[in-house]
Symmetry: C2
Amino acid sequence: MRTTGEIDSIEDRMRHATRGPLFVSFAAGDAGTWHIDRIAAVRGEGLAPAETLSIVEAGADHSQDSWRWILRGVTSNTRYTNRQESKTMTQRQQGLGRPEATRAALIPIRKNNAWWALSQDDRRRIFEEQSGHIATGIEYLPAIARRLHHSRELGEPFDFLTWFEYAPEHAGNFEELVKRLRKTREWQYVDREVDVRLRRI
Amino acid sequence: MRTTGEIDSIEDRMRHATRGPLFVSFAAGDAGTWHIDRIAAVRGEGLAPAETLSIVEAGADHSQDSWRWILRGVTSNTRYTNRQESKTMTQRQQGLGRPEATRAALIPIRKNNAWWALSQDDRRRIFEEQSGHIATGIEYLPAIARRLHHSRELGEPFDFLTWFEYAPEHAGNFEELVKRLRKTREWQYVDREVDVRLRRI
């Protein structure tokens, strides 16, 4: 059992990058490595209030009933990023667990049936050519580190859980990033969104 | 608990198409709706011999230890199909459970790390522009019905489980389809493949 509070070694990062899916549970309760500052329901149903969040990677046992809620996801290959975008991101991004990145956000979203019924090219067109999701994210690298977790195929209530980490001085940039994404055409397909803000304990 | 031995109603099919992920377990043992004719290891490690296969949809309990092996997967949105291809497939394809489709194949495959490290556009180029995976599959519609299940994000030993159903008179077409796909550039990224052939009991 590892938590993202620990700093990954380069070897760990390489392993994650090449070995593929990493299972991650975000468990809210009254003991954890991240203090929850606020939980806001942006669209649709929210999440129950909680004091702290634990991030548990790999196959740990979560059967303790002291959690308020647990959201599960799995990292995977990219679905929309093209070769040039991928190269730029790899060059600019930094990993999770940087000592200065003491602020975090967990943003679970669900997209509607209309989104999932679209073909790959139509989804890419909306996602990037119309909404600039990748290009916008790149603008905020390396300050805002990000890891995407897929939940839809795990039978979870959300489709994606995105985890962001940043230093306190970049909190304004993060607000701007979130605001820009929420105005996009892509976001019109989001039918549930919760915004959880945290600080490292 | 439903098995694909039952014929789906139109409502069921619509529900699956629009509601998204359907969890499916392929469980091999000595009781089931499909008789296993043969299990061939095409590349890498094979699977243990078994008499029959049960296909269990949704969240049934598989904790009985009488199964020889169980492979799990989940249906999902398409990942490479563009709008025109999607339209053609929808027009031509037929569902699982046709009374005349008494032959079936389960083909679990795993792709290597080099595949999963590719960007979306590079994967699409190999998958379709170079290998014609979608176009080839369309040629065999509606005779060869097909359902793809994703397993990689479930921590399974394979990345995909593809289930095919066809009438005995199309067995030759199916052999041809499989042979053509295995010769493609895409298939150079397959590092484990098993071919299970079955007939309805």
